[in-house]
């Protein structure tokens, strides 16, 4: 499941123009928490990073090895691969404030 939103104009206040965001969302099957997490993430990205992000959803039930390789403990986990440094968020991303802090998106607000 790979979602690449269509491109759009990026507001200077949300992210630097040269930055492209690579996000990975780790889930375990289609649970209410994982769908909630995806929906929440999508919403925030559309608001802040429109056109400059990609979300890769990884189902650990289909690929359990990745749980170890990518150091996943809690489900759902969101990993910001790019831009560096790597950041990890756990939970269904319902607390937007914390998501923004975790993804380091508040600095531009």
């Amino acid at each position: 499941m790979k979602i690449k939103p269509k491109g759009g104009s990026i507001k200077a206040s949300t992210a630097k123009p040269e930055e492209y965001w690579t996000l990975r969302l780790y889930v375990a099957g289609q649970t209410s928490k994982s769908t909630a997490a995806f929906d929440n993430l999508k919403r925030i990205c559309e608001e802040r990073l429109k056109g400059h992000y990609s979300i890769e959803v990884i189902d650990l039930l289909k690929n359990p090895r990745l749980a170890k390789d990518d150091q996943i403990l809690a489900i759902p986990t969101l990993v910001r691969k790019l831009p560096p440094p790597v950041r990890r968020l756990i939970g269904d991303l319902s607390n937007t404030e914390r998501v923004l802090v975790g993804l380091d998106l508040r600095r531009n607000n």
Partner: protein, 588 residues
Amino acid sequence: MKSKRPKRSTRKTSRAPVLRKIATGIQGLDELTDGGLPKGRTTLLCGGAGSGKTFLAMEFLVRGVKEFKEPGVFVAFEEQTEELARNFASLGHDLKALVAEKKLAIDFVNIERSEIQETGEYNLEGLFIRLEHAIDSIGAQRVVLDSMDVLFSALTNTAILRDELRRLFRWLKTKGVTAIITAEQGDGRLTRTGLEEYVADCVILLDHRVTAQMFTRRLRVVKYRGSSHGTNEFPFLIDESGVSILPITSMGLNYKVGTGRVSSGIPRLNAMMGGRGYYRGGSVLVSGSAGTGKTSLAAHFAQATASGGERCLWLAYEESPSQIIRNMRSIGLDLAPAVQSGMLRLQAVPPTIFGLEMHLLAMHKLVKELNPRSVIMDSISNFTTIGSEVEIKAMLMRLIDLFKMRQITSLFTSLTTGDTFVEANDTRLSSLMDTWLLLREIESGAERNRVLHLLKSRGMAHSNQIREFLLTDRGVELRDVYLGPSGFLLTGSALLVQKAHEQAQAVLREQEGGDKKRELEHKRQAMEAQIAALRAEFEIDQMKALKVVGQDEERATVLTDDRVQMAKQRQADAVKATHPMKRMSGGL
């Protein structure tokens, strides 16, 4: 895959009817728990920092692989795989090799609290998936999670965490794996995080403390549902042979024995044992009452070991090393050079400081450190202040087990009390010993003298004779036994007196014999003189008799002649010549 894991709401209601156990393979722990950890359950291993939780848990897995062919999964929350491998390499475990052989899986779960932002509801499904993947990939039957405290410090939502841990333990049960989880000990409670509330089957507490400059790890089975277990604290060791716990009941009796001999240091004592001394790796008990020379006998053995180029460990429970050296000098044994060269280690151990288990542990450590070929314990009687006879015997059993395993010849001295059949005191110990020397004092003629019996010596022909045991300024000397005229053993000055007496008697007898001989000679001479006299007398008589006969015959002839003459004259018929004597008698 998902279906195997219970939903968070499910409750496990069925219980195994009989508690099955899984042997850990850890020396001592299986004895302590009467067979091992509860099979298919989770055991909580708690203790302070550095108490050996990780070591013990890893040992559980490694033993499982090596001894029971049961693969294991180690989930490390604290140490990285590399770090673990390095740490355990120093203990003789090659974790990397085990991982490569797919007998062990190590999963380092890296949780950096600073990296994690909690943004809402979550669960620990990621951990479950990793665990299940690891278990299934190698067919693991043993699982370790080390340690749970990291989770609690990394994740702030303890409500979720507690729910998830409950689910985890249930899941481990359904997975059929035997698990150990470790947790830090808390103030006044078993764990800081209260994990003991979830893990109800078996709880083991590790502890470590420094007493009398001695670092000791201890283990206690706090709880074991449905099973008997040792409730005391037991010291345990972590060394290159792994973790070993020392309950005094644990011993093997499965060591190899040699036929080599070691000198007792006393030639005549060697002679009593077929001329070659004690068996290497054998146990020797020297018992005797106070002042019978037990320590001197031990010193000879120590000296013999050291001068043979082998290391000897002497545990002195009564005297200081310098005191022993001084005292042994008085019998002409200088132990100082051996001590200086390191071949003899005189170690003073106050017996009352530690318990028996601690002594056992101290012994293990010393033996490991020095690797001696012989060990002297002088004297084991001092243990009576800290343990019962049965306990002491059990401890000595373990010790002798250790010594024999390492082919160390051991000599124990034991103080017997009283004069009434001293052997009785040590009879219990004697069954552990291969050779039993008894030193006794025999009181006679207002003095006490030492004698040595070789009561038993397994596996060799040995003298059954009692020897007199002398402490001279050239060391211990064994003297021949000397039986008095009444069959009693004579020792000391009584022996000298008896010897002098017998010598005098011999001289006397010799003199008497000479006298008798001379007397007899006299008698013989007298007799011969008498015989000569008699013969002379006889000869005289004989001569006399012959003379008379001759005269008579002459006379008779003359008479006959006369009668013939007369008849001729009377012109009578020829008269028959008769014996004149007959005629004479007839005529009378």
